[in-house]
């Protein structure tokens, strides 16, 4: 448990906890971005360079901006337009704490060995090789999925024609 892991973990937890509890929605998204950056640095510390940079490129550069645009377009920003918590927040928090308790118990009581394997530096060449040979089918399915999502999102967000009211 190195110091860098503790600092990054604290940063990530602070960012995500703030994201889920702030009132102002834009502040929520900005602190969430901080959490994503913390996660990306954790990936870099674990030796997965490609995944870490992809996390920043996709989550910080695209998903956060998408969320911000959606907040702008649904006009959810404003001086306290609605109460922050849903009416079922008590059962919700109880369930979430119970889930964390069960997961933590399972992790701490599981049998894990003490030895740490040596760092395996994965190069992008190997990832490309794996994508083209072993994981070629998931790659093609991912392309299909992304095309369907692209077309679907455009159709969903298109304004309806006035004559069909």
């Amino acid at each position: 448990m190195t110091v860098s892991f503790l600092i990054l973990a604290a940063l990530t937890i602070a960012g995500t906890a703030a994201a889920m509890s702030l009132r102002n929605l834009i502040h929520c998204v900005l602190t969430l971005t901080l959490g994503f950056v913390g996660l990306a640095m954790l990936y870099l510390q674990l030796g997965a360079q490609f995944v870490g940079f992809t996390q920043i490129l996709v989550y910080v550069g695209a998903v956060a901006i998408l969320a911000v645009f959606a907040i702008m377009m649904t006009q959810s920003v404003g001086p306290h337009v609605q109460p922050a918590l849903s009416s079922f927040w008590v059962p919700g928090s109880v369930v979430a704490s119970a889930v964390f308790a069960v997961l933590a118990w399972a992790i701490c009581s599981g049998a894990t060995s003490v030895r740490t394997p040596p760092q395996h530096d994965v190069s992008v060449n190997q990832i490309g090789d794996a994508l083209m040979h072993k994981f070629a089918l998931p790659l093609e399915i991912m392309g299909l999925l992304l095309t369907a999502a692209l077309i679907g999102a455009v159709i969903l967000a298109m304004p309806e024609k006035k004559g069909e009211q």
Binding site: S21, G35, A62, V63, L66, A67, T74, T116
Partner: protein, 103 residues
């Protein structure tokens, strides 16, 4: 306490924070953000097990995470499109008021 346990605990904590946000917040967009957080926690799990697992040369953890990030981005786009369409119809993103299919 070895490093793997630390990463797994962090991932469990992130997952439960995301779950708490998705279950307790009133705004639909924040629920979607909670779901994204849960996916991220699972990704951290994958990478931690890849690093401290028996066979890092097989790259399974890294590949799974790459596909998971792509799927999560696509799902965020479609989810936000749905929220926009619902907002256009109901003029609100308050989840407590979307109970026309209840009962």
């Amino acid at each position: 306490m070895n490093p793997l346990t630390g990463y797994l605990l962090l991932s469990a904590l992130l997952f439960s924070i995301g779950l708490a946000g998705a279950l307790t917040r009133r705004n639909a967009i924040l629920v979607l953000i909670g779901i994204e957080l849960m996916l991220n926690a699972a990704n951290l799990n994958f990478i931690a097990f890849w690093r401290y697992g028996p066979n890092p040369a097989a790259l399974t953890g890294v590949m799974f995470t790459i596909f998971s990030i792509s799927v999560a981005a696509a799902e965020a786009a479609v989810g936000l499109g749905i929220i926009l369409a619902v907002y256009r119809h109901a003029k609100t993103t308050d989840l407590d008021q979307m109970n026309s299919m209840k009962g």
